[in-house]
Amino acid sequence: MCLAIPGEVRAISGDTLLERTGSIAYGSIIKQASLAFVPEARVGDYVLVHAGVAISLIAQTEAQRIFDYLDRIDESAR
């Protein structure tokens, strides 16, 4: 049930923070999700959406670290 999917914010609407809603693209599928908990999210950002609610802003700068870590441990084994 804790499944959450990364999607790109394409548009933002809503007058108050609690009503802040995004059009989120998951590949070619676009659905609405609440952005109430990611006030820093802007169009073009990626958010992690669980059951129609964005729970986290994906840090693009951190997304590569899993591969950098792998390079480091492989390097240290040589």
């Binding site: 049930m1 109430a36 908990f37 059951a51």
Partner: protein, 364 residues
């Protein structure tokens, strides 16, 4: 899809597997807490790819599985009422109560609706002002922000025909229940990444220290899980017991402060029954007194029903990592996803259902 496909890269997975094999010198038992991780591990066959002395055991992180029979029976009683539109996530519909499930109630004429988000209930409540809308608010910390948002927005709109049947559960008390059990054999944990995206990692520091167990906050794709396992094994081999974060692209140490603030105003900590595990103190959330008007158990007169679990079902031991599905005499025979005896067979994230779907009975 971006941020999904790259974390399923097979050559990188092979490199992580080789790295795990390189550093492993002894047998280790590691539990993944979340049912979503269990599903990924079984689906991608990760256990078979690991060194044979690394054993993965599957944890209680499937809310569908641990929602107690009494709450399911209350949901069934509410859903059967003619004035109620009962809204639920789809995976709760086939969870067996003591006599039937929500799907059966729907077949008998109950208005049971599957929603994609808790917030869908706002539209349904506005469209049906003469009906009572009840949302089945189950889940771990990941699901709580959306459910809290539903309550806050309903309160702001003055929607008086909406209420929640709440059975929220929390991960840290469940980990502590496992670690403090005399039967415990888990030495390290992959902590649930999406739970920590909401709540942060602070609650796990005392557990790691008190029970000397490494906890690595981990994501859900194969590469995430393999890196999480590498970090666990590295700590175990070095004799360390710390909280580390593998899932840095989505989890900040402080979690999501906006979500935590709303959760804290809408919910309060309560003792909960866990199906298969019994009562765990301070292990769940219920609606806070300020939002009691939205509590379906307060709004409706619900009889207390208590019914025993099927005696043959060993889901309680499976949820605590003490047994595997193959050790159950009913697995795949008298207990299947079509006719589940216990909750670990019902949800796709349940350990038994995952084993049934992706493995044959002999190798389970």
């Amino acid at each position: 899809m971006k941020y999904l496909d790259e974390y399923r890269d097979a050559p990188a997975c092979q490199r992580y597997l080789a790295a795990i094999a390189r550093i492993t010198t002894r047998p280790w038992t590691i539990m993944e807490v979340c049912g979503g991780q269990t599903h990924a591990i079984v689906r991608f066959g990760l256990q078979e790819l690991l060194p044979p002395h690394i054993e993965l055991v599957h944890g209680p992180g499937c809310p569908v599985c641990v929602t107690p029979l009494e709450i399911i029976d209350k949901a069934l009683a509410l859903a059967a009422r003619p004035e109620v539109i009962f809204c639920s996530f789809g995976d709760m519909l086939r969870v067996p109560g003591s006599r039937q499930d929500l799907q059966t109630v729907r077949g008998a004429g109950g208005d049971v609706r599957v929603v994609y988000s808790a917030l869908d209930c706002l539209h349904i409540a506005r469209e049906h002002p003469h009906k009572q809308i009840v949302f089945f608010a189950v889940g771990f910390e990941t699901t709580a922000p959306g459910n809290a948002l539903l309550v806050a927005r309903a309160a702001r709109e003055g929607l008086s025909n909406l209420s929640l049947l709440v059975s929220h559960v929390l991960v840290p008390p469940a980990i502590e229940a496992i670690l403090s059990s005399p039967q415990n054999r888990v030495q390290a944990f992959l902590a649930a990444g999406h739970v920590c995206a909401v709540m942060g990692t602070a609650a796990y520091q005392p557990l790691a220290a008190r029970y000397h167990a490494p906890l690595v906050v981990t994501g859900f794709e194969p590469l995430d899980i393999l890196q999480g396992l590498y970090m666990c094994v590295r700590q175990l081999e070095q004799g360390r017991a710390e909280v580390e974060n593998q899932y840095v692209r989505s989890v900040r140490a402080e979690g999501n402060p906006e979500a935590q603030a709303l959760i804290a105003s809408v919910f309060g900590v309560v003792t909960r029954q866990w199906r298969g595990m019994g009562e765990i103190p301070a292990s769940g959330w219920g609606l806070s007194p300020a939002y009691r008007a939205f509590d379906a158990e307060h709004r409706f007169d619900l009889a207390r029903v208590s019914a025993p679990e099927p005696a043959e079902c060993i889901s309680g031991q499976i949820l605590q990592g003490q047994k595997k599905p193959a050790e159950c005499p009913a697995f795949g025979l008298r207990c299947t996803p079509q006719h589940p005896l216990g909750a670990t067979m019902v949800s796709a994230e349940g350990t038994c259902a995952a084993y049934y779907q992706y493995r044959n009975c002999e190798s389970a």
